[in-house]
C-alpha cells in the first residue's frame, strides 16, 4: 500500500462527500416541498459525517449521526408530520426577508472566508493520518482536565434548553 494511491482514494471520497453535502444542502434550501427538504437534510448530515471520518475525527463522525440524524432530524420530521396539510405537499418554503437574510449570510460567509484565509494551515510532511488511533479518550481527558468549566456550563445550557422546551410545549398544549 503506497501512500500515493490511498491519497487518491481518500481524495475522491472527499470530493464525493463534499459534493453530496453541497448538492443536498441546495435541495434543502431550494426545494418547495418541506418533506423533500427534510430528506435532503439527512443526506447532508451523512455527508458531513463522512467528511469527519476522512478527517480522522471518528468520535465526531458517529456523534454527528447519533445526535443530528438520530435526534434533530427526527424532531424536524415530527414537526413536519405534526403540521397540518402536508398532503398537498406544497407546504410553502418560499423566500421571505430577502434583504436581512442576504446581509446575515454575507457577514457569516465573509467571516468564514476570513478565518479560512487567515488560518495558518500547516501540513506536517510525511505525517500519517491513520496513525491517530482514536479521539474519544483524548476528548474525555480534555473534558475532565482543561475543559471542566465549559463541560459543566454545557450541562446548565442543556438544563435551560430542557426547561424552555417544556415551557413552550406546555403552552402549546394548553391552547
Amino acid at each position: 500500500m503506497t501512500p500515493d494511491t490511498t491519497l487518491h482514494l481518500t481524495d475522491y471520497l472527499f470530493y464525493f462527500f463534499a459534493l453530496l453535502a453541497v448538492f443536498s444542502g441546495g435541495v434543502v434550501v431550494f426545494s418547495r416541498n418541506i418533506v423533500h427538504s427534510a430528506f435532503a437534510l439527512m443526506f447532508t448530515l451523512f455527508a458531513v459525517a463522512g467528511l469527519y471520518v476522512l478527517l480522522n475525527a471518528d468520535f465526531l463522525a458517529v456523534t454527528q449521526i447519533l445526535v443530528y440524524v438520530g435526534g434533530i432530524l427526527v424532531l424536524i420530521l415530527f414537526g413536519v408530520m405534526l403540521t397540518n396539510k402536508i398532503v398537498d405537499v406544497q407546504i410553502k418554503a418560499g423566500s421571505i426577508h430577502v434583504l436581512p437574510a442576504s446581509i446575515i449570510t454575507a457577514v457569516i460567509a465573509g467571516t468564514l472566508c476570513g478565518v479560512f484565509t487567515l488560518t495558518d494551515w500547516f501540513v506536517v510532511p510525511g505525517a500519517d493520518a491513520s496513525a491517530v488511533k482514536t479521539t474519544a479518550p483524548h476528548i474525555g481527558e480534555a473534558l475532565i482536565t482543561n475543559y471542566v468549566l465549559p463541560f459543566e456550563v454545557a450541562s446548565v445550557v442543556l438544563l435551560v434548553a430542557m426547561l424552555g422546551a417544556a415551557m413552550i410545549a406546555r403552552r402549546e398544549r394548553k391552547k
Partner: protein, 342 residues
Amino acid sequence: MNIIEPLVKIALILLINLTTVAYLVYTERRVSAFIQNRVGPNRVGPMGLLQPVADIVKLFFKEDIVPTAANKFVHSLAPLISLIVALSTFAVIPFGNTIHLFGRDIKLMIADVNVGLLYLLALSSLGVYGITLSGWSSNNKYSLLGGLRSSAQMISYELSMGLSIIGVLMIAGSLQLDKIVVHQGNYLGGFLPAWNIFLQPLGFITFVVAYFAETNRLPFDLPEAEPELVGGYHTEYSGMKFGLFFLAEYANMITASAVITTLYLGGWQFPFIENFGFSPLAVSLLQVAAFGVKVALVLLFFIIVRWTIPRFRYDQLMNLGWKVMLPLAVLNIIITGFFILV
C-alpha cells in the same frame, strides 16, 4: 488494503444472517405453536424445514400494491432503509477471536471501528426512519399512528440504552467492541467469568428491556398492535416491500441478540477453554461456536417472551421508559462509578 478478505467476510455474514432470519421465522412459528399447543408449519419438507424457502419464493411473486394516496418515492424507500440499517449493525460485531488460517491472521469481524459502541447506538437511532417514513408515506391513519408511536417509543428507550451502555464502557475503558469482549475474558474470584452481566446486572436488565423496545417486539410491539392498529406502519405494504420489513424485523432481532451477547454475555468468550489444551485453531472455532450458541439462546429468549407476555398500554410504556428505565440507568452509572472507585 486487501479487498478480498473483507468481501468474503461481508458475503459470509450477509449469507449467514439472512439464512438465520429465514429460519428464525420458522423457529418462531414452531415455538409459538408449541407454546399454544398447536403443530405449526410442518408440511413443506421434513418437519416443515423448507417453509422459509416457500415463503420467500411466494413473496417474490406477490403483487405490490401501492395506494394511490401514498407518497410513492418515500413509500418504496422506507423498507430499504429499514433493512439496510438492521443489517449494517453487524459490521462491527466481533463473532470470534483473531483466527490463524491459511497462513495469516484473520480478525473475525468486518470493521474494528474505534468507536464501535457509539456506532451501534447511532445505527439503532436510525432505525426510527424506516418505520416513521413508512407510516407517514402510506397516508393511512393506522400506519401514521403506528409510525409515530414507534418513533416516540424508540427514542424514549434509546436513552436508557445509551445510559446502560455507559456502565459497560466504564468497566472496559474502550469504545472498541473487540476490546470489550477481550475484557470479559477474565475471571472473578477464579471461577466466575467476568461477563458484564455479572458485573452489572442492573445495567443488563435496563439494556435488554430497552433493546426489546427498540426492536418493537412484544411486550413493546405497540407500533403494530394488531387489535387497534391493524398492521401498524406496514398496513399498506405488500409483496416484497412487506417482505423487506419482515426481514428487517428479524434481522434486528439477530442484531439485538448479537449486541447483547457481545456487551454482556462475554461475546465469543468460551469460559475455561484455555484449560482444555486444544489447538489454537480448535479454540478459535469453538469460540465462534460459543458466540453462535449464545446468540441462539438470546433469540430463543426473545421468542419465548413474545409468546408469554401481554402488550403494554401506550401510556404505561412511556411511563416505564421515562420514569423507571431512565432513572435506573443513571443509577447504574453511579453505582458502577462508585464500585470502580472503591
